[in-house]
């Protein structure tokens, strides 16, 4: 077991691997999560994010390497670790036949919480999840956003040390996503350690203090969202379209005008600290893009740089 100072690193992994037969889901990763921080795993489907989350949640055993959660090895002391985690899985697994309140109550009992404590806690969580009016409604009749909020509320019933969210807003409409982000912000303000996976850049930028970019079971980079952008991209990006057949043809000419270029099937991304200037140069060269857009660099650009692939494909 790794030696972790209490109240410092809540999670520490070294050389963590997971193999399914010949398939390598995790290829020996190292990371640490500190108390009170909001840590994100960013990567496309199959990157190894959910596998890492399940190992941390003490519901999947690793193949090799060390991992220590709250000072304990999950392979040996799973239930003791799980007593202090709040888990929001990718797919809601609420009891559809029970009411909103019953789902919260029953879950709280699994942690051995007293009926008296739960009565007050459930009121608080119904309020937090904006479900007070739906308290006696069966879960199967709730909307997707409401179910997601209830799943998060359920994970908070035991006031966990670490709240783990696997793709918390996938499948939700923009309004529901924003409500959820707002709730997660509040938790962050209360000092809850958040651990989340996402393949949404905006979500990662909004919620995470620190990010680990993953691909094919390996860590590509790790830093704050701004740090990653600074390190792996330019300040600005110029997106130009010349029409899908011409994009490749002009790329050699454009390459000279910027620091880096990415030719995608539908558009060309030109990386530079002053993108407006690049656009002027293009026009001076007598090239006329069909559309052009100047924007700030995002995590999507970081991911493209690191993996050569777009994050959302």
């Amino acid at each position: 077991m790794l030696n972790t100072p209490k109240n410092e690193k809540l999670i520490e992994a070294k050389g963590l691997t997971k193999h399914y037969g010949d398939f390598v889901a995790l290829a020996g990763i190292d990371f640490a999560v500190h108390k009170g921080e909001s840590f994100g795993f960013l990567g496309p489907n199959g990157a190894g994010k959910s596998t890492t989350m399940r190992i941390i949640a003490a519901t999947l055993t690793r193949t090799s390497g060390d991992i220590c959660i709250l000072g304990k090895d999950p392979a040996e002391r799973g239930p003791e670790i799980r007593a202090h985690l709040g888990v929001v899985p990718q797919q809601d697994n609420l009891d559809q036949a029970l009411s909103v309140t019953d789902n919260l109550y029953i879950y709280g009992r699994y942690f051995g919480l007293s009926k008296k404590f739960l009565r007050a806690k459930i009121e608080e969580l119904l309020d937090f999840a904006q479900l007070t009016e739906k308290r006696d409604v069966k879960v199967e009749t709730l909307s997707g956003g409401m179910k997601r909020r209830l799943t998060i509320a359920r994970a908070l019933i035991s006031e966990p040390e670490i709240l783990m969210l696997d793709e918390p807003t996938t499948g939700l409409d923009p309004q529901a996503r924003h409500i959820l982000w707002d709730r997660l912000f509040r938790l962050k303000e209360q000092g809850v350690t958040l651990l989340l996976t996402t393949h949404y850049m905006d979500e990662a930028e909004q919620l995470c203090d620190r990010l680990m970019v993953m691909d094919n079971g390996a860590i590509m980079a790790e830093d704050s969202p701004q740090g990653l952008i600074k390190k792996y991209s330019t300040k600005e990006v110029l997106e130009v379209r010349f029409g899908s057949e011409k994009n490749a043809g002009v790329s050699d000419q454009l390459k000279e005008m910027c620091e880096r270029i990415e030719v995608l099937p539908d558009r060309i991304l030109m990386y530079a600290d002053d993108a407006e200037h690049v656009l002027e140069e293009i026009r001076k060269a007598g090239l006329h893009p069909v559309t052009s857009l100047v924007r700030r660099s995002s995590l999507e650009d970081v991911f493209l740089r690191l993996t050569g692939r777009s994050l959302v494909e």
């Binding site: 519901t59 239930p79 797919q91 697994n93 009891d95 036949a97 029953i106 051995g112 608080e124 035991s158």
Partner: protein, 280 residues
């Protein structure tokens, strides 16, 4: 957020980990029983109407015909309804216990995936299995007691003598249910499982376990179905305690031992499958 927020203490303060780990199976039982109470009226009505109709149609209806043919010797020396009662009680115990351990398991692993939510708490696979099992036992005790009361109402049993029949029925049902719980946990395809259970298991067991006539009156190849059927073992024990059906002491030991083997094998298999499915 409103004034409903209570000061956060954190799980390290509010969760008594040792206690939660120790009582896990009980918490699952409690949750399951709470769920069952949502259906209490439909459970109660089926537990009362089911025996009522069975006894009216078979015990009294068919019974009148059988009693007339059997004459003074009766079936196994008794009126048909008395002969039938232990088998019906055994059958309902098996059926209810089995339903309560199979459907929640399919729901937990396949339909709602609630077992995965449970396993994200201090609960272990073994505790989830045991809790599901205990809750089913409680529900089956309810149906067996109600069924017995209806049997009493029909004069099919004598309370002072036949009450241990409730125990033998529960024992057999519980032993077989352990095996069925494991089978449900092992199944990946719920459609096939439910079809097999309904058509290839329940019906043949009901028909070839000496339920409606003594097993010995069937051709011997069909009797073999009875020998492996928990319902036959349960019915034999039930008839023994209900009206003194003749069984050798060796057979009594065989009945109890065979069922006990199902219980032990079933539970071990179930624990193994639960842990496997949850950590796959």
């Amino acid at each position: 957020m409103s004034n409903k927020t209570i000061a956060r203490q954190g799980s390290l303060v509010i969760v008594n980990t040792a206690q939660a780990m120790k009582r896990g199976a009980w918490y699952v039982t409690e949750a399951r029983v709470r769920t069952l109470f949502r259906w209490i009226f439909s459970l109660l009505s089926s537990s009362l109407l089911n025996p009522f109709f069975y006894l009216m149609s078979l015990g009294i209806g068919v019974g009148t015909f059988v009693n007339a043919r059997a004459g003074s010797t009766g079936i196994d020396g008794e009126k048909y309804i008395v002969f039938l009662a232990p088998a019906l009680l055994a059958a309902v115990a098996i059926q209810d216990f089995m339903s309560e351990v199979t459907f929640p398991v399919l729901q937990g692993f396949k339909w709602d995936k609630t077992y995965f939510a449970m396993n994200a708490t201090p609960l272990t696979g073994r505790q989830i299995a045991l809790g599901t099992y205990f809750a089913s036992l409680i529900r089956t005790i309810g149906s067996v007691v109600l069924y017995f009361a209806v049997l009493l109402g029909f004069g099919a049993v004598n309370f002072g003598r036949a009450w241990p029949m409730m125990l033998t029925s529960l024992y057999a049902a519980g032993c077989f249910a352990a095996l069925m719980m494991a089978a449900a946990a092992a199944t990946e395809n719920d459609d096939i499982f439910l079809n097999l259970m309904g058509r290839l298991l329940i019906m043949p067991l009901f028909l070839f376990s000496g339920t409606f006539y003594p097993l010995s009156s069937m051709p011997w190849p069909l009797q073999t179905i009875g020998w492996i059927s928990p319902l036959w073992h349960s019915t034999e024990l039930g008839r023994w305690v209900s009206y003194g059906h003749q069984i050798s002491p060796l057979m009594i030991v065989i009945h109890f031992t065979y069922l006990f083997a199902l219980l032990v094998g079933g539970l071990l298999w179930a624990f193994n499958r639960f842990e496997y499915r949850l950590t796959k």
